[in-house]
């Protein structure tokens, strides 16, 4: 096999591997695939990235091919003369391979800068949905404040509902550590930094469920800080909003209130009957209208909720052993109500848990 042949084959193989890889990746419809954009921001990023990626693959394959071909072509073989020409350098070549990459990069820089400013534009007007995103350890809270599109505030968590073809302007806040809000199919990530009012715009073209994850290491259960963005038609979204804005689906009184407000002091952190309240902990009004809970890692169903209510730390790692010890010691997460119970506090019974979970599952 002669050397140019090797080169051609290598180049072909490289291109095939690269193309196959990109195609495979594009085909993954896991709902969290940056190569499968479903909104204008992600689409613009993809339009910018893919041509540059291809250019990079071509350059990479060329350089690697050259490395292999040069090494083989100029390999010393027994019996061949061993007196290579002593080339010390070449000014024209040096100038060439300085200027050509500079020109390529200059060409790349133009659309890059344009896209940076394009994506940083602040959408304005009554048809923009404003959402406050709160990064917590380790779950996401979404607040829809009163605005032209929302006549009464709504606080929810783990699942953000948005209407399609509508710019959603996110204001990202944290009162704890740094998180990063990322829904790959809708937009790039934006860090959620304490004391910084960061913003990001997302928009979905079609109805669908898009997965997101916290992308900045934020402590013990960073991996379990997922969420989903559910894009709906405007009518569906309005129906969802109206349902969320209502009070609890069932009366929060009698036994359930005794259990949650008095016996187990759930209300120290949680709210059961008011979807406008932000207590810094998950608002449980309409919990059953969501499909997942606990940082989007568990499906809302009887088994999971019962385990969670009784012994949450067995499901998600949390530094919450001291949460039930008065006076309030700093803690992160949901305590266990069956283990390490401090003196004077009740251990949760299965019957109580069932009652609470039955109530929660009724909270559509």
């Amino acid at each position: 096999m002669t050397d140019p042949q090797i080169g051609r084959r290598l180049r072909l193989a490289g291109l095939l591997v690269g193309a196959a890889a990109v195609l495979t990746a594009c085909g993954n419809d896991n709902g969290q695939n940056s190569l499968d954009p479903k909104g204008p921001a992600a689409q613009k990023i993809d339009n910018l990235f893919i041509p540059i990626l291809i250019l990079a693959i071509v350059i990479g394959v060329a350089v690697i091919t050259a490395t292999v071909v040069f090494a083989l072509k100029f390999r010393h073989r027994e019996g061949k003369p061993d007196n290579p020409k002593q080339i010390h350098g070449s000014t024209p070549l040096e100038i060439g391979w300085t200027i050509v990459p500079a020109l390529i990069l200059a060409v790349v820089a133009v659309p890059t800068i344009a896209t940076i400013f394009d994506l940083a534009k602040v959408p304005k007007g009554p048809h923009v949905l404003q959402v406050q995103v709160d990064g917590k350890q380790w779950w996401w809270q979404f607040q829809l404040p009163k605005q032209p599109m929302v006549d009464k505030k709504v606080v929810t968590s783990t699942e953000l509902h948005i209407p399609i073809k509508t710019k959603v302007y996110l204001s990202e806040q944290s009162d704890n550590v740094i998180h990063s809000f990322w829904v790959p199919e809708l937009a790039g990530k934006k860090d959620v930094v304490p004391n910084h009012d960061n913003h990001n715009t997302i928009e979905a073209d079609k109805p669908g469920t898009f997965l997101g994850a916290c992308a900045e290491y934020c402590g013990l259960s960073h991996a379990d800080m997922r969420f989903r963005v559910i894009a709906q038609t405007m009518d569906d979204w309005k129906a969802w909003l109206a349902s969320e804005q209502q009070g609890p689906a069932q009366p929060w009184s009698g036994e359930i209130k005794d259990l949650t407000a008095t016996k187990y002091s759930c209300t120290q952190c949680h709210v059961f009957d008011d979807s406008t309240k932000d207590t810094g902990r998950p608002n449980l009004t309409h919990l059953a209208s969501r499909s997942t809970f606990a940082g989007g890692t568990y499906t809302v169903n009887r088994k999971n909720l019962t385990n969670w209510v009784m012994d949450a730390p067995s499901m998600i790692a949390m530094e919450s052993q001291k949460c039930r010890q008065p006076p309030e010691t700093p803690c992160v997460g949901m305590p266990s109500f069956t283990k390490n119970t401090p003196k004077g506090q009740p251990v949760m019974t299965r019957a109580d848990a069932d009652t609470i979970v039955t109530y929660l599952l009724g909270e559509k």
Binding site: N30, F49, P84, T98, G188, Y217, G219, A223
Partner: protein, 663 residues
């Protein structure tokens, strides 16, 4: 601060010696007090290799956990500790010290010096590295190993232990340990700068220096300027955690992003601190095995310097998602693209070096070629990070993990292994086995690509990094399994290397003084290298001086071997060395005698040179550091007092002890 006592050396030392001065220069105990740059280099290298194995085991555990969805090998907390320690270890306890190891051994040999400028400070640097590393690892048994990430972002790490989401003392050990390592890095940086600038042999002008020395010089400057930035940041983190300051406490007006600026102002130059030595190593290997001078020497040197300068202007490209605003982001995007240019220039010059050569595909050359290929991939994915909108999708995903492993493993570690095979015969006098070496290379190349290439896809498909598990049904399962398999292939390649080392040590062939037909001065002296390196300080007449003593060019620029005796005044066995066919096995016996050629006797110290004497004080001084470190972590004044006493004893002892004992 360690510079304080340096100037106090009195004229009548013997009366003032606090301890009896060690005199051994051989045997086990000599390693504790040695000031010989070559021995210190071996200490650096050996220790760093052990840390490399530890970091590798950490990586394998991580990959076992991630081999399938919802893995249960590790708990969340263990996983966080392992990725923190893997990163911290590889950057601070493997990458930097391995470069320092090669620098320590070969900078003096390459510039024609008998030692570094400050031999005892050199030993202090090693002890600070070892003890700092052990200090960080001691967290595992003393209340919490570091678990805040190798980057230790605030406020996660700066939140006091009592309220933090990070269990245990982890960030305390991490900050204090890194400050200790910083002392070692800065002192060795200063040492290298002074050695390179001040101790070159006559005729060794800056533009005749080997590229490796040049790159170590740039690296040393970067180290000396970058470490204080992170030291300041670490001090602030420690104060926030332990003395309730508000540097990064948002509730009191602190700004968590300040930490990121300070950290990356260190962290980005740090990337070049890691990669420039690797570039230097392969710039030595390529010309030797292509039997051609480095293509565009001056351009390679200046692009290295350019990278060193530009490296200070790109730190915020680690922060594109933090909300810096489009103007700042655009500026850092352009600066990042700019730094690709000198990097690319280097790659083209390396290719130009191979072009037209008489290439010997020995193991060192394979690793050097592997470096070019792998580093190119890492460099190109780096360019895609400068495309800021794309970076907001890629950052903190496996795409970034892939990128920097291509740069740091495919780059630095490949170069380091190339360096091992290249310089092993000079350091240990034995040739590493070629067949095992080639097996090592191919396993590593395949394992590396199987591990890290698919990670590009994982990242683009949305898998965030630093997550201990992932859900089923994300389409990541197969790729992750492949990645995990690849990591074990890398492990196998490292195992082959270790086997090679053991077999070579037991029954390897003796290496001649100049086994590769080398170009630089380290090959001009006998193997094993005498304590004083050069019996007579060489006078340098050319770049690649040793080569110029063996070869010249005919009128067509082709290589011509000089007749025995040479035209130049080589002081060692240059001519005899040139007679050895570097490819043949039969040269070994001859090579063994090379050291004796010329005027050099076999023994050491027979020349009346006053080589620097061994000393206890670098060790004693360094022992003060962990005591003070534990005092800081556990807020114990009772520990602080003995810590200061040991430190002061070490300093004063060092100061009043002369560098070279009187006869």
């Amino acid at each position: 601060m360690t510079a304080v006592p340096e100037v106090l050396a009195p004229p009548r030392p013997r009366r003032l010696d606090l301890l009896h001065r060690p005199t051994r220069t051989t045997g086990f105990w000599s390693w504790w007090t040695t000031v010989d740059h070559k021995k210190i280099a071996i200490l650096y290298g050996g220790t760093a290799l052990i840390f490399f194995l530890i970091a590798g085991i950490e990586a394998l555990l991580i990959r076992l956990q991630l081999a399938g969805p919802n893995g249960t090998v590790l708990t969340q907390s263990q996983y966080n500790t392992l990725f923190t320690m893997h990163g911290t270890t590889m950057v601070f306890l493997v990458g930097m010290p391995l470069a320092v190891a090669f620098g320590n051994y070969f900078i003096p040999l390459m510039i024609g010096a008998r030692d570094v400028a400050f031999p005892r400070l050199n030993m202090f640097g090693f002890w600070a590295f070892l003890i700092g590393g052990l200090f960080i690892y001691s967290g595992f048994v003393l209340g919490g190993a570091p678990n805040g990430g190798w980057f230790g972002y605030t406020p996660l790490t700066s939140t006091p232990m009592s309220q933090g989401a990070l269990p245990g003392h982890g960030p305390d050990f991490w900050t204090v340990g890194l400050v200790m390592l910083g002392f070692g890095s800065v002192t060795s940086g200063i040492n290298f700068i002074v050695t390179i600038l001040n101790m070159r042999a006559p005729g060794m002008t800056l533009m005749r220096m080997p590229v490796f020395v040049w790159m170590m010089l740039v690296t040393a400057f970067l180290t000396v300027f970058a470490i204080p930035c992170v030291t300041a940041a670490l001090i602030m983190v420690f104060f926030d955690r332990n003395f309730s300051t508000n540097f990064f406490l948002a509730a009191n007006g602190g700004d968590p992003l300040l930490y990121q600026h300070l950290f990356w102002l260190f962290g980005h130059p740090e990337v070049y601190i890691l990669i420039l030595p690797g570039m230097g190593i392969i710039s030595e290997i390529l010309p030797v095995f292509a039997r051609k001078p480095l293509f565009g020497y001056a351009v390679v040197v200046f692009s290295g310097i350019a990278i060193g300068f530009l490296g200070w202007g790109v730190w915020a490209h680690h922060m594109f998602a933090t909300g810096l605003g489009p103007v700042a982001v655009s500026a850092f995007s352009l600066a990042t693209m700019l730094i690709a240019i000198p990097t690319g220039v280097k790659i083209f010059n390396w290719l130009g070096t191979v072009w037209g050569g008489s290439v010997r595909l020995k193991t060192p050359m394979l690793f050097a070629l592997g470096f070019i290929a792998m580093f190119t991939i890492g460099g190109l994915s780096g360019v895609t990070h400068s495309i800021v909108p794309a970076d907001t999708q890629q950052t903190d995903t496996y795409y970034v993990v892939a990128h920097f492993h291509y740069v740091l493993f495919g780059g630095l570690i490949f170069a380091i292994f190339g360096g091992f095979y290249y310089w092993w015969p000079k350091i240990f006098g034995k040739m590493l086995d070629e067949r095992l070496g080639k097996l090592n290379f191919w396993l590593m190349l395949i394992g590396f690509n199987v591990t890290f290439f698919p990670m590009h896809l994982l990242g683009l498909e949305g898998q965030p990094r630093r997550t201990y598990t992932y859900a089923k049904g994300m389409g990541w399962d197969n790729i992750n399994l492949l990645v995990s398999i690849g990591s074990f292939i890398i492990a196998a390649s490292v195992l082959v290397f270790l086997v090679n080392v053991v077999l070579t040590t037991i029954r390897g062939e003796r290496a001649p003084a100049d086994p590769w037909d080398g170009r630089t001065l380290e090959w001009s002296i006998p193997t094993p290298v005498p304590e004083y390196n050069f019996a007579e300080i060489p006078v340098v007449h050319a770049r690649d001086d040793f080569w110029a003593r063996k070869y010249t060019e005919d009128d067509q620029g082709r290589l011509v071997r000089l007749p025995a005796g040479g035209s130049d005044s080589g002081t060692t066995g240059a001519v005899a060395v040139a007679e050895i066919e570097p490819d043949s096995d039969s040269g070994a016996g001859e090579g063994g005698d090379l050291g004796g050629h010329g005027e050099e006797p076999g023994g050491t110290g027979g020349h009346g040179f006053h080589m620097p004497s061994p000393s206890f004080y670098p060790l004693i001084l360094t022992l003060g550091l962990p005591i003070l470190g534990y005092a800081a972590v556990f807020k114990s004044p009772f520990l602080a007092i003995p810590g200061f006493i040991v430190l002061l004893f070490g300093m004063y002892g060092w100061a009043i002890e002369p560098g070279t004992a009187e006869d």
